[in-house]
Symmetry: C2
Subunit: 326 residues, 2 copies
């Protein structure tokens, strides 16, 4: 069984939204323990008639807190208490939509890293029309990387793609400014050679436009590029959808219901919340799933599911073996 420690605190929509997601997940058969302020969570659970277990954590890491300092100065925060539950084996995986930096730091320090990993990486799923996302890593944990980091990202990303997202033999691409092996910076040129020897299905360099397409399943890059690309894509998708809605409404004013439905359908296809709800932090010695700060109950539900899939599929054990081989 997979037991998930769910951090209830420190998100934009407040604890009640996270608790609502937790109740959905429990109803679907997931095993959970809620971490956070008992005074806040208790009444929420009572309202819903739920008897989910609470582990009290009186303190909260706020979004504005410095992550490193928060981890040191707020040992009783929900993130830290949750991380200790996982480190001690009382839970198998941590899910948090709180401060990304603090979750990364707590994961790295309290839960610990797999041998050979200096800093874990974030594998963010990007929705595709097929329903199976492209994973991009690193999405922001390691702003600068060395070629062998990119190889580790490829190995870890392939495993999470297989085990958590059910992909068969995922195609790994190196994000670059062109497809030829000579393209890119020194780090990409060296990584290209190393990736050809790595135990993954390396399909070569891919360009920005390939990310939402069907030529690659796992895209490896440094965390600066990954983060900027993800946010650019989100912004562009939102803008184009708004423009499309306006263009249709103007032409078909008598069909506003259909226009709203069609826009909603596309939004649901490309909404990261509904696709996965969170991103795996890869390279820690137990599962960690990071949600974004404005996670809805659906996102929380999906994030718990992601974490559970990872535990049930033996993600960590297989990653330790995979990294030792590469």
């Amino acid at each position: 069984m997979a037991r998930v420690a769910l951090d209830v605190m420190g998100t934009d929509r407040g604890p009640s939204e996270i608790v609502a997601g937790a109740i959905m997940a429990a109803q679907a058969g997931h095993e959970l323990v809620l971490v956070g302020d008992q005074e806040v969570i208790g009444p929420e659970l009572a309202k819903a008639g739920s008897d989910l277990e609470i582990v009290h954590a009186p303190d909260v890491v706020e979004m504005g807190d410095d992550p490193g300092r928060a981890v040191r100065d707020k040992p009783d925060s929900s993130i830290m208490v949750g991380a200790r539950l996982v480190a001690s084996g009382q839970a198998d995986s941590l899910v948090s939509a709180g401060s990304t930096g603090a979750v990364m730091t707590a994961g790295s320090i309290i839960i610990g890293r797999i041998e050979g990993i200096q800093r874990p990486a974030i594998a963010t799923p990007i929705p595709r029309p097929t329903g199976i996302p492209t994973l991009i890593l690193d999405a922001g944990a390691n702003l600068e990387v060395k070629p062998d980091h990119l190889v580790r990202f490829a190995v870890m990303g392939s495993l999470v793609a297989e085990i958590v997202y059910g992909m068969d033999c995922p195609r790994v691409g190196l994000l670059n400014i062109g497809t030829e092996s000579s393209k890119g910076r020194e780090v990409e040129r060296t990584a290209y050679t190393l990736l050809q020897e790595a135990p993954v299905k390396f399909v070569g360099n891919v360009e920005g436009g390939d990310i939402p397409g069907d030529v690659v399943d796992v895209v490896v890059t440094d965390g600066f590029t990954g983060n900027v690309v993800l946010k650019s894509m989100e912004g562009t998708a939102g803008l184009v959808l708004t423009l499309a809605g306006e263009a249709f409404s103007r032409r078909l004013p008598d069909h506003s219901r259909e226009v709203v439905q069609a826009i909603e359908e596309v939004r649901m296809t490309i909404d990261p919340d509904l696709c996965a709800g969170g991103a795996h932090l890869l390279g820690t010695r137990a599962g960690v799933v990071i949600g974004h700060g404005s996670s809805s109950r659906h996102a929380v539900f999906n994030a718990v599911q992601l974490a559970t899939e990872g535990v049930k599929g033996g993600l960590i054990e297989r990653m330790e073996r995979g990294l030792a081989r590469s």
Copy 2:
């Protein structure tokens, strides 16, 4: 008057499309000289009854050619002949939709660089719903940059935004993974401080999602990030538009004409070809505008217009003064 040397060769759609764009531009009053194979261009012009001037260039840089080698080994290529026309003052600006690498190299070596510029940068316009694009630079010429390069990008980008795109006091942002000044790599943190002192309207760090929005007009970043982001945005926009078209068609099968029109309207709003048709190469001692290889006649027309605006607005002179001050 602004006289544009237009490279007719080496593009995906062939010389006839470029000539068609040239004729449109000439009809609108632009002064042009066509550079390329006389045997090919002559008949095209004759067919259209045009007497535009041709400067013969028997050779072509192919898309697959190594740019540096092509510039050395193909001195009679249209790109090189065009660059020499500009260098010798017989034309004021070069427009080419041929090999980007070869145009960059020819611009840098034959036309020459403004003092203090080691390598020119590409300022690519990204369409916005307002009709005024965001400029991103560098879009691929300098894969790695130093903080003071980013300051020069800011100065050059601001001037082209004012002179060519008619923006008043353009807002300059540094592309980063968060808005706080402490965010990013060493290069961004140092550039942030330098940009606060630079003679531009610096609005601080911007994130990927801000690029198509209305908080920034000129986005500076290294050429690796810029290139990957641009292509990611293009890919995402195309995908979302396709999904929207499908969703509407399924719901409103009796309104296929309106659906096609609405999609076409959005496509025209966000199509870079119709927005600008090309990107200024900034830092050369005379105007250079780079079109993409699949440029349509409309893109060629707009690229010639861009080049003309630059010459008429005294872009190069103002850039030399601006860079000397910064």
